[in-house]
């Protein structure tokens, strides 16, 4: 009965229902996006460390080290002598795996990263290793050969057997071409990690590329590290960071987490804004119900004359407000899906990191429930007015 009355009323005031529900949808979507996105992207980014624990590099910002060596963003702060890599490789007590990284070239804006085939052997996630698509093989150390990330291959249309010439620098500049032919010998299967966006070549090939300074020919940009045990990482990092003046060890996951935590204030600001929008939405419910109250009074009086109780018209009003909020919240999930879906697509295009917008989060329950309660509460004042409607007075039309 109540549901019937409410449905009728919502339909009769379809436009204001739609507008109010729309504003609530925006608020809900925004609120959920603001809260969920930071956590989900943080989780996604800490999950794609390539399987490494830390980066060893020249003295500089830890974030910068992690960004260029793991996410292939940002510039390398400087270089390391090859001997540093050798020393790390021999440090069996602490280090399980050490893989050198050389950056500095690109092909059509995709980074060319020099490394060793050991890189492909590391589990980038539990039980998962980078694997080649059929028909390919890993590059040979010292050869002018390349293995492409899946995204690069599909974007540039390169296949095994194709030849390309690298360009100097991290950004594509047609005048900076190296006169060296590289042969594509393999293409990686998609891993949904930054590795998909990189062209991998042997570290010696990168160093010896014609046009690079001869004295830098043995330098590397950084060394990716896996420790023997989790406890060794921070201790080793501490040792290097405090014990040397020209080297830095950045623990990858904590660095990423710290980076995202820097945006906590932004989340608070955006969250407060979204909460305000939600409040405006609830206010919209109040206003739209209140404004139509005058035209509704007659209808309410008729219902009362037909035997409806005061509590029935009160309940109908609150239920109507709650229903508008529920419609809004449902729309909010759509808004969220579009916003975060687009953001996730953007992030994936640029970094290869896959963010799952629907990863479980308390905000998916808290925000909708909170907003529906706020919306229903906004219906209480008009409902009180409806409750107080004088039947005898409102049964006759007022001119």
């Amino acid at each position: 009965m109540l549901a019937h009355i409410v449905t009728k009323s919502l339909r009769q005031h379809a436009l204001s229902t739609l507008i109010t529900a729309g504003s609530i949808a925006l608020a809900t979507g925004l609120l959920m996006a603001v809260w969920a996105v930071k956590d989900q992207s943080m989780r996604a980014f800490t999950n794609v460390t390539g399987g490494f624990d830390a980066v060893f590099g020249p003295r500089g910002s830890e974030l910068n080290l992690v960004l260029f060596s793991v996410f292939h963003m940002d510039k390398a702060p400087g270089t390391l002598p090859w001997a540093d890599y050798e020393a790390l490789r021999k440090d069996r007590r602490n280090i399980k795996t050490a893989v050198p990284i050389v950056v500095g070239d690109n092909f059509k804006n995709f980074r060319i990263v020099g490394t060793t085939t050991n890189y492909f052997g590391v589990e980038y996630q539990r039980g998962r290793r980078l694997a080649l698509q059929s028909g390919g093989r890993e590059f040979a150390e010292g050869a002018q050969e390349a293995v492409l990330g899946s995204f690069v291959a599909s974007r540039l249309g390169l296949r095994v057997g194709d030849v390309f010439q690298p360009y100097h620098g991290l950004e594509y500049d047609p005048s900076q071409k190296h006169e060296a032919d590289y042969l594509v010998v393999g293409i990686l299967k998609a891993s949904n990690t930054p590795a998909d966006h990189v062209i991998w070549i042997p570290v010696l090939g990168a160093q010896n590329m014609p046009g690079h300074r001869a004295e830098a020919a043995t330098d590397i940009s950084a060394v990716l590290l896996q420790f023997n045990s989790a406890a060794q990482g921070p201790m080793f990092a501490d040792q290097v960071n405090k014990g040397t003046r020209d080297k830095t060890v950045a623990m990858i996951a904590p660095t990423v987490t710290r980076f995202f935590q820097r945006f906590e204030w932004l989340r608070v600001v955006l969250g407060a804004m979204a909460a305000l929008v939600a409040l405006v939405g609830a206010g919209g419910i109040l206003a739209s119900l209140y404004n139509t109250l005058n035209e509704r009074r007659r209808e309410l009086a008729i219902l009362r004359a037909l035997g409806a109780r005061r509590t029935t018209v009160f309940g109908a009003m609150v239920l109507e407000a709650a229903t508008i909020s529920v419609l809004g919240v449902l729309g909010g999930f759509a808004v969220y899906a579009v916003c975060v879906g687009a953001a996730a697509h953007f992030v994936r295009q640029h970094t290869g990191v896959v963010i799952d917008p629907w990863e479980a989060s308390a905000v998916f329950i808290v925000a909708p429930v909170g907003i529906v309660i706020a919306g229903a509460a906004a219906g209480v004042l008009p409902a009180i007015k409806a409750y107080q409607t004088d039947v005898a007075e409102n049964l006759v039309p007022h001119s």
Binding site: M1, V391, A392
Partner: protein
């Protein structure tokens, strides 16, 4: 058997300026089950107020209204609502149809708060008033005469013991008015409902054997030399 019994009824009206006027001062009024009575009275004689009191929409200051087994003046508001939903049908001069509802839904709302929706009976009532083809029409899509017929069907929807009709032909032309009046009387007879019809139209009044003049009965009425 008496269906409605009113004793020493007084209803006051509080004017916006704060003064109180007595609108209704009725020593006695009765209606038997299935009786059909017309009630006349000049404007301001308290006709509508009396109907509202009988329907339990207004509460008198003093006196007793007994409807069937129930003492309305002693009942709580919720009980009066329940009683109205179950036993009283109301026909208004301005029809008071729900504009967002179809004819059928309007009639269904007439039973919703009482014995519950019975679409079959609702449809048969609309059939009876000649609107069997218009179940899905909305009030706006109907002529004035048709709208009043929907209102008549709605008033009978809860199988009431008493139908209250407040100037039911006041907004209709002569031909429609005659038809509506006949229909109301027939349908009340068929459904064994008593009818208390208020009108100041001599033609309507003449159709009733039982007639009362509220100007005479109401000691507060102008014709009686009361306060108003």
């Amino acid at each position: 058997m008496l269906l409605l019994e009113i004793r020493d009824l007084r209803k006051d009206y509080r004017a916006p300026d704060g003064t109180t006027h007595t609108v209704l001062d009725l020593p006695e009024f009765t209606l038997a089950a299935q009786q059909q009575m017309a009630l006349s009275g000049s404007s301001g004689s308290g006709k509508t107020t009396l109907l509202h009191c009988i329907a339990g929409i207004l509460v008198p200051e003093k006196g007793r209204i007994r409807l069937g087994e129930c003492d309305l003046t002693a009942a709580s508001e919720a009980d009066r609502d329940r009683l109205r939903a179950a036993h009283v049908g109301y026909i208004f001069q301005t029809f008071n149809l729900l504009q967002g509802y179809t004819c059928l839904e309007n009639v269904l709302m007439g039973m919703a708060f009482g014995r519950g929706a019975d679409p079959k009976f609702a449809a048969s009532l609309l059939q009876r008033v000649g609107l069997g083809e218009k179940l899905a029409h909305r009030p706006r899509q109907l002529s004035v005469g048709q709208q009043q017929r929907v209102a008549v069907a709605r008033a009978l929807a809860n199988r009431p013991q008493l139908v209250l009709a407040d100037e039911p032909t006041g907004n209709l032309d002569a031909a429609n008015a005659r038809e509506a009046l006949a229909l109301i009387r027939e349908i009340c007879t068929e459904n064994k409902a008593a009818l208390l019809l208020v009108s100041h139209d001599a033609g309507v009044l003449a159709a009733f054997a039982d007639r009362r003049d509220l100007d005479q009965l109401n000691r507060a009425a102008t014709g009686h030399g009361g306060a108003r």
